[in-house]
């Protein structure tokens, strides 16, 4: 009996020792090679369920993003809607600053022909009526959460580490998130979001990734809102990396061009 207990102890401890720490999994994911700039053509589909029937509404948009390795900014991005026609030309410009300074944001409304400086302090607010919040799209710093390895699991046919991420600082709309990270390629495959009442209310699924050159691209992201049975699908139609996007792409002048 004692021998069996010893074997079981050895098996469990060797299993635990073989597992990397949650932090190292997240660090590995964070270190995946990323482009300095990316231009993406996206299709955004809003899907609601009414009377058992799915109702879909699609928009298309072009996104430009540039990372900065020094200076005042972490990144700059510009989003411009190209479909449907009634919102064509509507655009968002964001300058994500380093440190605690809030982001600078501008909105261009073609009907007013005006670039409006705006503020989105409320990170939990829905992004353009989708199930994604501004917080979901802004990306999180590695040091913004404390990680705990919950085990392993298979999601979308991929072996994943299951990790709990607890926000360190106040201000997040989530009390915690459960993440599934692909063991082999260190790619995020699923995220479950828990609100302040500790109830799971959103699930993000990223079933497919494609490697284009040196970079991985999530070709589809599905954010499901469990409260209202609504979901948003983001599909990448076209992507271009490292085009040496000039700084003047991320200006009011470029925002107005449609």
């Amino acid at each position: 009996m004692i021998r069996y207990a010893q074997i079981l102890f050895l098996l469990i401890s060797s299993f635990l020792l073989a597992q990397p720490s949650a932090r190292s999994v997240m660090e590995k994911m964070d270190q995946i090679q990323k482009p300095m700039d990316v231009q993406t053509h996206l299709k955004m589909t809003l899907i609601s369920l009414k009377g058992g029937k799915e109702r879909r509404r699609s928009r298309e948009l072009i996104s430009f993003e540039k990372r900065y390795e020094d200076g005042k900014f972490k990144s700059k991005s510009l989003l411009r809607f190209s479909q449907p026609k009634e919102v064509m030309g509507t655009g968002f410009l964001t300058w994500d600053r380093l440190g605690s300074k809030p982001d600078d944001q501008w909105l261009y409304l073609p009907a007013l022909k005006k670039v409006k400086r705006i503020r989105t302090n409320e990170k939990g607010r829905s992004f353009m009526g989708t199930d994604f919040s501004y917080e979901d799209l802004s990306g999180r710093d590695l040091d913004a959460d404390k990680y705990e390895l919950l085990g392993v699991d298979i999601i979308h046919g991929t072996d994943c580490y299951k990790i709990r991420a607890n926000p360190i600082e106040k201000g997040s709309q989530y009390s915690w998130r459960i993440l599934w990270v692909d063991k082999k390629h260190s790619l995020m495959k699923r995220v479950e979001f828990f609100n302040k009442k500790e109830i799971m209310f959103k699930i993000l699924d990223i079933p497919d990734h494609v490697k284009n050159g040196d970079y991985w691209t999530a070709t589809k992201m599905i954010m499901k809102n469990l409260k209202n049975n609504h979901r948003t699908e983001l599909t990448v139609l076209k992507v271009k990396y490292d085009q040496d996007l000039k700084d003047n792409v991320f200006t009011e002048s470029f925002l107005k061009r449609n």
Partner: protein
Amino acid sequence: MVMTRTSDQSQINLPFRIMSLDLGYTVGSLDIKTVSAVEYRYDSSKSSYNLREAYLAYYPEWGEVKFGKLIHVWGAVDGNNPTDNLNPYDYYYLFKQGVGQKIGTWSFSSKLYFGNYQVEGIFIPKHEVNRIPYGEKDYPLALPIEPRIEYPVQDEIEIGIRIQTSIGEADFGVSIFKGNDRTPSISTIKYYPSDIDIPDSYEKIIPQLGYRATTVWGLDFVTFIGDFTLRGEGAIFKTQSSILKLNLFEIQTNLYELYQDIVYSQFVLQGEYTTVSDINLSAQLIGNKVGEENYEWYHSSSKELVNFPKLDKFRPGMGTPFAMFSELALILSSSGVLMDDRLELKGNAMINLDKKGTMFSASVGYSPWINWKFELGLVQFKGDKDDLESAFTKMEDFSHTRLGLYYNF
């Protein structure tokens, strides 16, 4: 689109844009754009083509350069901008939001970016005037007949400069615009004293119109207080009668010139907040005030001052057209989209804080299919029965419902 009066369900016959076409072509840093519209009216079944904008834009790294027929946009608040006097207004579309209420002018503009600063210069070679409805029985603010403009402006060229910068989390803009009024005002009168024997059918006083020269100094800002956005805009207008250069044959013994030198101001303060469910709420306080008001009548040929009374209440020839509605007004607005952009709800209320008068408007837009939209709108004016000159009272009969079908392609 069909507009019917709420009082008796009769149709309001005014022109409306039945079709708009925006075309654009981009080659590298160059854009070519045209915006045109076809205007139609039911009563005469007539349509007319209108080239609203046609311009070439060049976007180098240091800024932008535009040339052609353009609608410019200045100022920080959403509409009713006192600092934005670069384009005339089309009074038929006064209640339309955005650039739809403006008329393009042939102009040249250039914007330069210097670090934290933006400097914009605009040159307009020819003075353009507001499109004001005349003889429109369905438009209560219309003038009965189109007045003959006796005196064109002395200096057609108009120039504007605006500098914008960011200080902390706020943007500030200062501007100056030197131009001419877009609405005409009395410039001279022909006066026949009662002792002169003229038939009774002749008018004793014949006012003649022209456009005053006006310089506008503007200031605008946007800042953030927590989740609230505060926008503000103010302008000081100095308007002066043009010196009439009458030739010898025009100088008449019964001609009297009005010389006006008036300073007036307009301001708009706007607070806005977006709720977690993306409902946009905003409040605008609009005010205008006439400051120094100097006027003199003098005889055109002898240049002697004459003691004529003031003819009329001063009417600004520039600034936000809503200044004619009230000295001080509050506009409350809300808008939101529901059902994945299928349903759009808007509500506005304009309250005259100076005298009695309100305007309420609401609209529901429903888009069952992509690019198709039905819109049902209601506009209701309430004036003061004891003040028949109030714009709100005059507009009471213009209270209407509006039904429209829109297709974007």
